[in-house]
Amino acid sequence: MASRGIRDRVAIVGMGCTPFGERWDKGTNDLLTDATKDAIASADIPLGDIDAFWLGTMGSGVSGITLSKPLKLDYKPVSRNENFCATGSEAFRNACYAVASGAYDLVMAIGVEKLKDSGFSGLTGTRPVGDGTDAALTAPASFSFLAPAYCHKYGVSEAEMKDVLTRIAWKNHRNGAVNPRAQFRKEVSKETIASSPLIAGQLGVFDCSGVSDGSAAAIICRTEDAHRYTDNALYVKALSFVAGPGAGTIDPNYDYTTFEEVVRSAEDAYQQAGITDPRASLAMAEVHDCFTPTELVLMEDLGFAERGTAWKEVLAGTFDRDGELPVNPDGGLKSFGHPIGASGLRMLFECWLQLRGEAPPERQIATVTEGGRKLGLTHNLGGAPGECVSFVSVVGSEPSA
């Protein structure tokens, strides 16, 4: 029994991504159509050539008909996937496996979410009938448990932590400011971030990701077929997914300074991709910065910083766009926005642009242009500390020799 992976067996040959944001002008059908149109244009193929589809959406539609009807697909298979905030990554993962298995030649993974029509703040989910015993905490409250626990364990003061969290938000807003597809396209001063109204615990409005509408898509084929569509494909090195047993919510040994699910999925992904030193090997990482403390903890869980040191690395600018390892160069969930089902594919879209040299000059990352690094990582998480699902992928601009 082992997780063997499908390293270099499939490639992404086309991608599309809509602008994210409060898209009062676009419905779910429009967003799906826009992302699909972009993706098939980038692969230069007609929609009819795609053999099968994987649609990721948490709550903007049910069943494959959510996609087949607006796209008027010609009696093709469409799977609808849901896995909390990692929904888009889950659609991508399953699409890759279908190609690797030989079942289909050319497939599309697409994610979409239309959140802003609800009129509510934050996320709303549809849950099965409950017994009325679940604590009614919101997502920011669940993730705000991380900050005081981290401070307590590593001797970081509350003021220092506020600086660290503020800098993460500041960095991601700065990255999003130069990204035309991002929801928030303005730099935000540290003073504004630090003094924003409190939502939960230490977290202010600016510590939370953008609630938005959007869609992103990827077209995938076997690596040996990639040349038919492009001479500049993106190769899938690793796909790892973990659903945790919910240990942290019931086990007193869990200390709220890590996501065991992330640690396990990262280990698996690095093993699949043959990576031993992620910080030195990766050109960039797109990680699940749903709330600023999440990004802090992820830097350690993904092996980018030693335990207890990520807060110093954040302050030192290690993960800035021009830092040693750029994290969320597209603005991340914080500034690009977080339409649940689309986010995992949006992360891949940034790898697609950066690793293949298509990102516009003003936001290209030096680890690719000067450092010559070829690998990117995406990390997508759903749930809450102690009880979550985690996805890690590694993609690269060259197949292994």
């Binding site: 709303t124 905490l137 019931i250 007193p252």
Partner: protein, 314 residues
């Protein structure tokens, strides 16, 4: 009980239409004029039935919603009436006489005479004599940690803003958060987990001893299946492992304080904390569980357990 009597008359004093929050009252001097003779008559008849005189009474309780009549009766009854708690806990309505009697019984000694006179559309009087078992009952209740009326009244808060009180009573409708309304719990869903929901019953693995909240069939620690025994944790205390203040979540009393509680003897659960100033919550704080209303949705009151600070601990 060694004697009792009642007196009544047909008069309009206090009335409430079904569905109304509050009752209406007639001009109070009229009520006093009718109540006082009725109270005196019932009291005299009860003493006669008991065969005792007013000056033999050790404790006298006079209660009723008509404050003016109660005051007049207390002054003119010819017996020494003990102090009441109306200044701290108010008037408890139908429960007032019962609570006052419980209060007295917690302080009385065997062989004492107690009179209770309640004014409500007339007057009811009864005379009681405590027996030798009273001291035993008092000791047993103390040993079991049952708080006395005096202790419960003393633990009350005097800092509750009137606006919040009105909110809790449903007499003010604050602007709700921009969040979906809570869902009513499913009746079969709640019934299946009755021991957990109403008794806070966890499960402990018979193979390895790991304690699970809520109860599960499969052990997190050793993965044994269906090797669990139920374990009631409602009276088990714990400490705060970590906490947050949720300013977005729905609550009858925002903001929601969310805590992760690690229980004495094992087990962890994440829940709301209540009866606490959000600024004073801290890691390591001692808490105990209390059964509270979480929300009401579509007419269904949803009760479950919340943590609250242990009185007297840090």
């Amino acid at each position: 009980m060694v004697g009792g009597a009642a007196s009544s008359d047909e008069f309009l004093d206090r009335w409430r239409v079904p569905g109304e929050m509050d009752s209406h009252v007639w001009e109070e001097r009229f009520g006093e004029d009718v109540y006082v003779p009725l109270a005196h008559a019932a009291f005299a008849d009860a003493l006669k039935a008991a065969g005792v005189s007013a000056d033999a009474l050790d404790h006298v309780i006079v209660t009723g919603l008509h404050a003016r009549a109660v005051k007049a009766v207390k002054g003119g009854i010819g017996a020494k009436v003990g102090a009441d708690r109306s200044q701290t806990i108010g008037n408890l309505g139908a429960a007032d006489a019962g609570v006052a009697l419980a209060d007295v019984l917690e302080q009385a000694t065997p062989g004492q005479l107690i009179a209770v006179l309640a004014l409500a559309d007339g007057a009811d009087a009864m005379v009681l004599r405590t027996t030798a078992t009273l001291a035993e009952v008092q000791a047993a209740r103390r040993a079991a940690g049952v708080p006395t009326v005096e202790e419960q009244a003393g633990a009350g808060r005097s800092d509750l803003p009137y606006v919040r009180f009105l909110n809790w009573r449903g007499q003010l409708r604050p602007d709700p958060p921009r969040r979906p309304d809570p869902e009513r719990p499913g009746a079969p869903t709640a019934h299946r987990v009755e021991a957990w929901k109403y008794g806070f019953s966890a499960s402990r693995c018979l193979k390895c001893g790991f304690r699970h909240l809520p109860p599960t069939r499969v052990c997190l620690n050793c993965h044994a299946i269906d090797e669990m025994q139920p374990e009631r944790l409602a009276d088990v205390r714990g400490k705060v492992a970590t906490f947050t203040v949720d300013r977005l979540a729905f609550s009858l009393s925002p903001p929601v304080v969310g805590v992760v509680v690690d229980f004495d003897g094992g087990g962890r659960y994440r829940c709301e904390m209540t009866d606490v100033d959000p600024d004073t919550v801290h890691i390591g704080q001692r808490v105990e569980m209390t059964f509270r209303r979480l929300w009401t949705a579509q007419g269904v009151h949803n009760y479950f357990w919340k943590a609250k600070p242990v009185e007297g601990s840090d």
